[in-house]
């Protein structure tokens, strides 16, 4: 069981959170083609390595936030707000 840092509540056990999957996905306009709509809905990098993802602290403050987490070691290298850019993108 991992421990994640909620930006508001601090370190908490994994089972206080839900994972919302990959973050920084741009939602296309209504006029998008079927292909780009499908890409938005389903196609993911699914990296073996650092994954930028969003989590919600459902059992605590209810806030969504972003994590950079390694999908093999499960090490968390960054915690940042929903509206922040990805780490390292300056």
């Amino acid at each position: 069981m991992m421990q994640l840092t909620c930006p508001w509540c601090g370190l908490r056990d994994e089972n206080e959170f839900v994972c919302g999957g990959t973050t920084h996905i741009t939602r296309p306009e209504l006029a998008a083609s079927d292909a780009s709509w499908g890409a938005y809905l389903f196609f993911r990098d699914n990296p073996k390595g650092v994954h930028l993802e969003r989590w919600r602290h459902v059992y605590g403050c209810g806030q969504w936030f972003n994590l950079a987490r390694h999908t093999v070691t499960h090490e968390v290298s960054a915690v940042y707000a929903m509206t922040d850019p990805p780490p390292g993108s300056a």
Partner: protein, 967 residues
């Protein structure tokens, strides 16, 4: 009887003044307080304690601890029966009842042992090569009966388990010298320190000697505030340094236990750093028939003698390839066991002055063990020239060096390296968050172990880097060399009866990866997980295939380190505490009024209120009928409720729902469908405007969590500049629904203000009101098609309103109605129920909302998905009504619609079906391929071999013009 109790002072742990009686396989025996079941059995001369897994070979006690593969027993009776208990770990208690596993009718005369006669036919994986004709099913039951070990209990567990979480800076696992030294050093350096010791005593391998250093460190630990937990076995290390451990709390097996005890406690410990000090396991040498009762690990015999005052035999031969065995031999000799000889595989033994008078046969090995149910002797041969000698003995002590207990290190992701000459796998550096010290790090020299452990403890406490481990000191020990494969068996894995020949077979058949070897032969897959067999297996594989042990490698270490009960893992999450079940605020009132309660998802609520012997179905008919004719009262409190507030609330709800909420006037309400981005229905509900910025949202009961989650996700992750807050208020408000033509009359009788009258308040509107001093939110809406009021009021007041209303029920002829009647009513009206008529593939157009979507110009979540090719397929399943052609037969829910009986391509299925009390005929809703274009068509519904003709109808069945909602 060859094993026996020694005279005092041998036996540091037993209390000879306190006799304990117990029963083993029906025999009444006696031991002392402080004994384990194993030591007590040995003290009673009991050698044969169990049968092996495959060949049902007689087996005795092999070890003195957690690594035990053979001495497994079933303990206790009834709700406390516990299978597969290691006799070596079970503290003896008064009245304990134990039975051998895997034998019938008895451990002495086990019919299963006939397999032994066919052993040659049963090499590793034999079952893969036969039993194919005519099929496996023919042979399987017999094989299953032969397999398995203990018998599972039949009753629910009587005892309790709890969970405890803790945090610490340094966690030391293992209370031996190394663990103690590390813990004391860490605490001295100022770290909050916790130490887990699996057994009842501190001191590890030295616990039963009066060791001054152990004593000093133990008291230092106490003084420094180290939190020491005895009886607490760490079984796994998980992500981010979570160590889980099981603490044993009860006197397992004692006859006088109270009806329910707190049996075990699960510790979930988050540690900044973990120090593993888990020691090492003595490894056996291989020789023919090395599994006979009376062959055991040398260190175990030593411990039985010193700690329990038990001689495991009278005349011992020691089979050795390491120095440690000499110490054991000398100590046992002092304790009164005759040492016939030390048979050392090495050229030169390790004899020194202390071993004078002990006969050492060097460069020799055991080539036979005599005796079946108990050792009677052995044959020793010179490795060089094969010269043989027969030795009489009743005990064979096996000592092949040590294997560090690297389990936690490996689980934590640490790597291993192999010390070539001794085939010893030790940690290669440290693991993430975990450092090993002492024997488990391969540090066997006592002084070195203590000083290294202390350095590690203080370094980690200060956040520094731990020094590397000074590996060594286990004494010389050679990797086992294979003996010529004779006719007799050399057992690698005692529990699963894996022999050296099986390993060779695996090599021959190219199951050479160590993981293939394990799975093909099942070596290391028993309840001991190969603690005394994995190394031998991989070394043998290396010898057969010309690889060094390092190349063969180990199999993967997995939790638990030793088996743990399912009970302790679940903790309190059993019975009523497994998952919370929600109850209505007026639960007791409904019970008192004859409710038939059922679970609906997370809620326990009235399905109906049967009168007398009335069935659920009949009650629902009566209730529904009364609602149509008069009025009824439904407790709809579980309905999801949200308040959405903010300057952007209107804009936000427009995005969430198919249905425009921004144009609602204050006090007005509208139906909405919530989609996910894939366009499928997530929920439906009613949205009402409370004020310019404030909305009231009703969700379905089951859809509440999803809806709230979706709202929050969209708000926080996508529409981040919207100023909207969403507050769940489901539990704040009870919802009492009054429906039927006389609904208003009823409400008026208890004093609802006239402003709520149908004439003053339109259908689909919401008014805030006050009744009897309490705030109300009254929504005129209807899931029954009748005049309906959903009265939301503070949860605690639900009972008051129910009571007051109910007082007038009789004079009106009104009823209470439950979920079942509600279903009848809504099906008559053709209203969908999300999750019943729809599933996760249903789109809004499938349930008749195509027009609503066309009308709405604004975007909403999921909209784009509705224009994909598949969403516009005219063959999609669409909601229709059905009535049986014969006007009598209830159409079965789940019945399949197809022109011909199965097998056939299905065109759809019945989703809801009831007898309509209003029409007197059965009606149903169904999802039918292209259904909206098939109204009036005749179809057939197939269900469990029967078939019913039905006609496709356009719902609603009752009051198609929708006039009744107006009262």
């Amino acid at each position: 009887m060859t094993s026996r109790r020694l005279a005092a002072p041998a036996g540091t742990w037993i209390d000879r003044s306190h006799e304990v009686s117990f029963s083993f396989n029906g025999r009444q025996l006696y031991g002392f307080k402080g004994d384990t079941l194993a030591s007590a059995l040995l003290a009673n001369g009991v050698r044969l304690v169990g049968r092996s897994f495959k060949l049902h070979r007689p087996r005795g006690i092999w070890s003195c601890g957690v690594e035990e593969p053979s001495a497994l027993v079933d303990v206790g009776r009834g709700a406390r029966r516990t299978p597969n208990v290691r006799a070596t770990l079970l503290a003896l208690e008064e009245g304990l009842v134990a039975e051998s596993v895997n034998c019938w009718p008895s451990v002495r005369f086990d019919l299963g042992a006939v397999t032994g006669a066919f052993a040659a036919l049963l090499p590793a994986g034999f079952y893969y090569k036969t039993f194919k004709w005519p099929n496996w099913h023919l042979f399987e039951p017999a094989i299953r009966r032969m397999a398995g070990l203990g018998r599972a209990p039949k009753q629910a567990d009587a005892d309790h388990y709890e969970e405890m979480s803790a945090q610490t800076e340094v966690l030391v696992v293992g209370g031996g010298l190394a663990g103690l030294a590390a813990a004391v050093a860490a605490a001295r350096s100022g770290a909050r320190t916790m130490l887990l010791a699996g057994g009842a005593h501190l001191g590890g391998a030295l616990a039963w000697r009066a060791d001054p250093e152990v004593a000093a460190l133990s008291s230092a630990a106490r003084q420094l505030g180290v939190q020491v937990r005895l009886h607490t076995l760490a079984f796994g290390i998980y992500d981010h340094n979570l160590v889980c451990a099981c603490e044993s709390l009860s006197s397992e097996g004692a006859a006088d236990l109270p009806a329910c005890v707190l049996r075990e406690r699960l510790w979930k410990i988050r540690a900044r750093t973990v120090i593993a000090a888990t020691g090492a396991f003595e490894q056996p040498l291989l020789f023919p028939d090395n599994d006979r009762p009376g062959v055991m690990l040398a260190g175990a015999a030593h411990e039985y003698a010193q700690a329990y005052g038990v001689a495991c035999g009278a005349r011992a031969v020691v089979a050795a390839n390491s120095d440690g065995a000499y110490e054991v031999a000398a100590a046992l000799k002092d304790a009164g066991v005759e040492i016939v000889a030390i048979v050392d595989r090495r050229e030169a033994g390790a004899a020194n002055e202390r071993h004078q008078g002990l006969r050492v046969i060097s460069a020799a090995a055991l080539t036979a063990v005599h005796g079946t149910r108990s050792v009677r002797g052995c044959t020793v041969a010179q490795l060089e020239d094969g010269r043989r000698e027969r030795l009489n003995c009743d005990l064979i002590l096996n000592s092949g060096g040590y294997a560090p207990a690297v389990h936690l290190h490996s689980q934590a992701g640490g790597k291993l390296r192999c010390l070539g000459e001794s085939a010893m796998f030790v940690p290669d550096g440290v693991a993430p968050g975990l450092v090993s010290v002492g024997a488990c790090a391969g540090v066997f020299a006592r002084a070195a172990a203590v000083s290294h452990a202390a350095e590690v403890g203080s370094a980690l406490a200060r956040g520094g880097a731990p020094p590397p481990a000074p590996v060594g000191g286990a004494g010389r020990s050679a990797a086992i060399t294979r003996l010529p494969d004779g006719r007799t068996r050399q057992f690698v894995d005692l529990q699963n009866d894996v022999t050296s020949a099986d390993v060779m077979l695996a090599a021959r058949e190219n199951y050479r990866s160590v993981e293939h070897l394990k799975r093909y032969t099942t070596t290391g897959m028993g309840t001991d997980q190969g603690k005394t067999s994995n190394i031998n297996a991989l070394v043998l594989m290396g010898e057969y295939t010309g690889q060094a042990p390092a190349q063969v490698g180990t199999t993967r270490f997995r939790p638990p380190f030793a088996p743990v009960t399912l009970g302790v893992i679940a903790g309190r999450r059993v019975g009523a505490l497994y998952r919370p079940l929600k109850r209505l605020p007026a639960h007791d009132w409904h019970v008192a009024h004859g409710a038939l309660l059922e679970t609906f998802g997370d809620w326990y609520r009235p399905a109906a209120y049967p009168l007398g012997a009335e069935t659920l179905r009949a009650a629902a008919q009566r209730e529904a009928h009364t609602v149509r004719k008069c009025a009824g009262l439904l407790d709809g409190s579980p309905l999801g409720k949200l308040e959405v507030f903010g300057p952007d609330a209107a804009r936000f709800l427009d995005l969430m729902y198919v249905g425009t909420m921004s144009t609602l006037r204050i006090g007005q309400a509208r139906y909405g469908l919530l989609l996910n981005e894939n366009g499928t229905l997530v929920d439906d509900g009613i949205v009402a405007r409370l004020s310019e910025q404030r909305y009231w949202v009703n969700t379905t009961t089951a859809g509440f969590d999803r809806t709230l989650a979706a709202f929050e996700e969209w708000l926080q992750c996508e529409f981040v500049d919207f100023k909207v807050v969403v507050t769940p208020v489901t539990s704040r408000w009870a919802n009492i629904t009054v429906a039927g033509p006389r609904a208003w009359e009823w409400l008026a009788k208890v004093g609802f203000e006239p402003a709520l009258a149908p004439a003053a308040m339109a259908h689909m509107s919401l008014r805030e009101s006050v009744w009897d001093g309490m705030p109300l939110r009254v929504l005129r809406a209807s899931f029954s098609g009748e005049l309906g009021y959903e009265v939301n009021l503070p949860a605690a007041e639900a009972e008051t309103l129910l009571t007051r209303l109910w007082a007038h029920a009789r004079e009106l002829g009104a009823v209470l109605y439950g979920i079942e009647a509600l279903q009848v009513l809504r099906v008559e009206k053709g209203y969908i129920h999300i999750g019943t008529d729809t599933d996760g593939t249903t789109l809004p157009a499938d349930v008749g909302f195509a027009r609503g979507i066309e009308k709405k110009a604004a975007p909403f979540v999921g909209r784009r998905s509705l224009s994909r090719p598949a969403s516009r397929d005219p063959k999609r399943l669409q909601l229709v009504g059905l009535t049986p052609l014969d006007g009598r037969t209830l159409l079965p829910v789940g019945g399949q619609i197809a022109p011909k009986p199965p097998p056939a391509l299905t065109e759809g299925h019945v989703t809801s079906s009831y007898l309509s009390p209003e029409l007197g005929i059965p009606i149903a809703l169904a999802m039918l391929s292209g259904g909206s274009q098939r109204i009036g068509e005749q179809v057939r519904v197939h269900h469990l071999g029967r078939s019913v003709a039905a006609r496709v109808a356009k719902p609603p069945f009752v009051d198609p013009a929708g006039e009744r909602v107006h009262g």
